[in-house]
């Protein structure tokens, strides 16, 4: 019995020594890479369709009652008339299909100019695009609508080629367009004129060129200061969206209360009023996708990373480069009643073939009173005040510019001029102040709209 026990013990010891030798030599089964998988389902906002992603900068309607054609009506994002007009025009452009004849020349002398749609970013039209599927693919900077003796013409100015595409609409489509514009009422609209170098020279003692079509109001315009609120960013949602496994992201608490999340490769900075995301490793990439694809991508990014609110307009989309890297930049702007709201930090995305490598988002919206009705009213801070005239604003802007560059003999170029809002005040109580926004030779100048007091860009939230 004892011998049998000793034999059994020996076998056990031999087996144990073999197991231990194996363990020592080969190790055990490899461990899982990460202790716990924490991937979570994230419900993202559905990106906008292409026809919803691009809207005109503005739609300029010629006053049918002005025989000289100088008086215009300007419609921009955030205005009810603009939304309805662009909806109709967009549908009209989608339905044209092949109902036109392609013309080689345009009899401008006999034509009556009705309206112009300006696009920035440019509008992709042609086959497999939502608009004007009957023509070859091209990118359009503006579309001008004319009539000549009852027939309607479209002149499409392309972004990269000098030659315009000229379409003469057939009878059906001409009737459709006639109905579309005849429905428009301009009774309560502000009259605008087109700025020209000659017109400017009447007010300035020096020459100034104009690089882009600009329109300024000739009627009195009233604007008011707005009570704003910063967009409410859902931190947990953004963390889950930017980081596949947000448990790997560490937190850095800034002295000003901002929070930075980083996994060592990418960083997300969140403050009460903004977010900034950066993924430097992806910067040195190339861009092989088209403008059309870039539109889809930027629509995805803004929708995924915070959403695409109603009055947010895609303002810019362009390909640029640094060194040997090329990437797209897209930028968005909030509009209120046709006026853009400028913030200190743009809402902007940088992306290339590798993906999104830089994204900033800072949006403010007018606060509204929720009075349990469908139409919400704005919180009134003060009475609407008349804004200073465009000529006074331009003169003041030139003075500011000359103070910045004394003695400069450079020819002045007026690159932008429009009424808008800037976001000022504190982060806790941001306010929208009406301003004249004027860009001269690349320099942005903000002048308070009724006093023409200069507002420094450092003071903009």
């Amino acid at each position: 019995m004892i011998e049998q026990f000793k034999t059994l013990l020996l076998f056990i010891l031999i087996a144990l020594s073999l197991i231990l030798t194996y363990q020592l030599w080969y190790g055990q089964r490899p461990a899982e890479l990460i202790a716990d998988d924490v991937y979570e389902q994230v419900d993202l906002e559905k990106p906008r369709l292409l026809e919803e992603a691009i809207v005109p900068v503005n739609i300029v309607l010629n006053d049918p009652n002005d025989p000289d054609g100088k008086i215009k009506f300007l419609f921009s994002k955030g205005e009810t008339v603009f939304e309805q007009l662009w909806k109709n025009l967009s549908r009209f452009l989608k339905e044209i299909d092949g109902d036109f004849s392609l013309e080689q020349s345009f009899p401008a002398g006999d034509a009556l100019h009705h309206l112009t749609c300006y696009f920035d970013p440019v509008l992709p039209v042609g086959e497999n695009r939502p608009w004007l599927t009957g023509i070859s693919n091209t990118l359009i900077e503006n579309i001008k609508f004319y009539s000549i003796e009852g027939s309607y013409w479209l002149v499409l100015n392309q972004s990269e080629e000098d030659a315009a595409v000229i379409l003469s609409l057939n009878e059906n489509k001409s009737d459709l367009f006639r109905d579309l514009v005849s429905d428009l009422s301009t009774d309560d609209e502000t009259a605008y004129i087109s700025l020209t170098a000659e017109l400017i020279s009447e007010f300035l003692d020096r020459e100034m060129g104009i690089t882009t079509p600009l329109y300024v109001p000739v009627d009195e315009v009233f604007m008011e200061k707005l009570n704003l609120s910063a967009e409410n960013l859902d931190r947990d949602f953004l963390l889950r969206t930017f980081f596949i496994d947000y448990n790997l992201a560490r937190i850095i608490e800034e002295r000003d209360g901002g929070l930075i999340y980083t996994d060592g490769e990418k960083g997300l900075r969140l403050t009460n009023v903004s977010l900034e995301y950066s993924y430097p490793r992806l910067e040195d990439g190339q861009t092989s996708f088209s403008y059309h694809d870039a539109l889809f991508k930027c629509s995805n990014y803004i929708s995924y990373y915070g959403g695409w609110p109603e009055n947010l307009r895609l303002e810019k989309l362009f390909l640029t480069g640094r060194g040997r890297s090329f990437y797209y930049v897209s930028e968005w702007q909030v509009y209120h009643e046709g006026y853009p709201l400028y913030t200190g930090q743009s809402t902007r995305a940088f992306f290339n073939d590798f993906g999104l490598f830089h994204f900033t988002r800072s949006l403010f919206f007018p606060e509204k009173i929720d009075n349990d009705t469908e139409v919400q009213t704005l919180i009134q801070l003060e009475e609407r005040k008349p804004v200073a005239g465009w000529s006074e604003a331009l003169q003041e802007a030139v003075e500011v510019f000359m103070r910045w560059s004394p003695g400069t003999e450079t020819r002045l170029r007026l690159e932008a001029m429009n009424l808008s809002y800037v976001v000022t005040g504190s982060k806790a109580a941001p306010r929208g102040v009406p301003v004249w926004f004027i860009r001269i030779n690349g320099e942005n100048i903000f002048l308070e709209a009724n006093t023409l007091q200069f507002i420094s860009e450092e003071g903009i939230l």
Partner: protein
């Protein structure tokens, strides 16, 4: 010899063998009973990969599965206050800029930066000992630590890292911070010696605020860290030697209230080039990812 005696001898022999194997496997920490993270095959594959890319592995490392968690830190205000007490008592002129406070006396200037970095400059140097260049590292290190201790400038839980001598015969001794034996590579101080005199001391020390055990996760293996590093650096034209590979904590320096730092594998190449691989993500850590920093 009968069968019973032979069996007994074999039992004794195998018992001894099992004790030896058990010791090798589990001693000194029975935590090694955990699964190992690196199998022999993986280790061999990594060694082949290193060799193919002209790297030589001279360092040893832990093969067992390990876990860790983020560590929350802030700039060490106690050190800063000690410095200020020490220099304010000595009667100094104080100048301030946006990010730096200057404390100046006849002999020294102390710069306290907003991010927590403290720099001490001795105008004519503090004499240490003759012929420092020919001293043994151990002796020189002990002298420096004694000097700092006497001045009340020696932080707690410091670890000697390395010593370097530049072309101008300037000696720099590097130390890093530790917490319960775990290196915090971000916290460091260095002492600069010129012509047998200490001329400057730089201290960037961190205050561990809290560990975050509820986010405890398994760290990547040392071999995976090596694989990631070679992927980042690419093949080397000259042979490079991997001298050390250790687990610790590291992150960039931030001008912030407090921040979390991840565990990293610190890999030292050729004795002086250091790389930090995030032990959770496997990414090479750098400072450029944080916006507006």
């Amino acid at each position: 010899m009968n069968l019973g005696r032979a069996t007994l001898i074999l039992i004794v022999a195998f018992t001894g063998l099992n004790i030896f194997l058990g010791y090798q496997l589990f001693w000194p920490d029975f935590g090694r009973l955990r699964q190992v993270a690196i199998t022999s095959d993986q280790l061999q594959a990594t060694e082949r990969m290193l060799k193919d890319n002209n790297y030589v592995l001279e360092a040893s490392f832990e093969r067992a599965k390990q876990t860790s968690f983020f560590l929350t830190v802030s700039p060490d205000r106690d050190i800063k206050n000690d410095f200020l007490d020490y220099y304010i008592k000595a009667g100094v002129r104080i100048n301030k800029t946006d990010n730096t406070t200057y404390y100046q006396s006849e002999e020294k200037t102390v710069l306290v930066h907003a991010n927590g970095l403290i720099q001490v400059f001795y105008k004519s140097g503090a004499f240490l000992i003759e012929d420092t260049l020919n001293l043994e590292i151990r002796v020189l290190k002990n002298l420096v630590e004694e000097f700092l201790n006497n001045k009340g400038l020696l932080p707690e839980e410091y670890v000697f890292d390395y010593l370097e001598i530049n072309d101008n015969n300037e000696i720099t001794i590097h130390y890093y911070q530790a917490m319960n034996g775990m290196p915090i590579y971000s916290g460091q101080f260095k002492v600069i010696i010129e012509n047998d005199h200490i001329t400057a001391i730089n201290i960037y020390w961190l205050q561990p605020v809290e560990t975050i055990p509820y986010r405890e996760m398994e760290v990547i293996s040392a071999t995976e860290a090596l694989n990631n590093l070679v992927t980042e650096l690419g093949a080397s034209t000259d042979e490079r030697t991997i001298k050390e590979i250790d687990l610790g904590y590291f992150s960039g320096e931030y001008d912030a209230e407090k921040w979390e730092i991840p565990p990293v594998w610190r890999i030292v190449l050729d004795g002086d080039q250091k790389y930090y691989i995030n032990a959770f993500t496997g990414n090479l850590e750098n400072n450029a990812v944080i916006p507006d920093q």
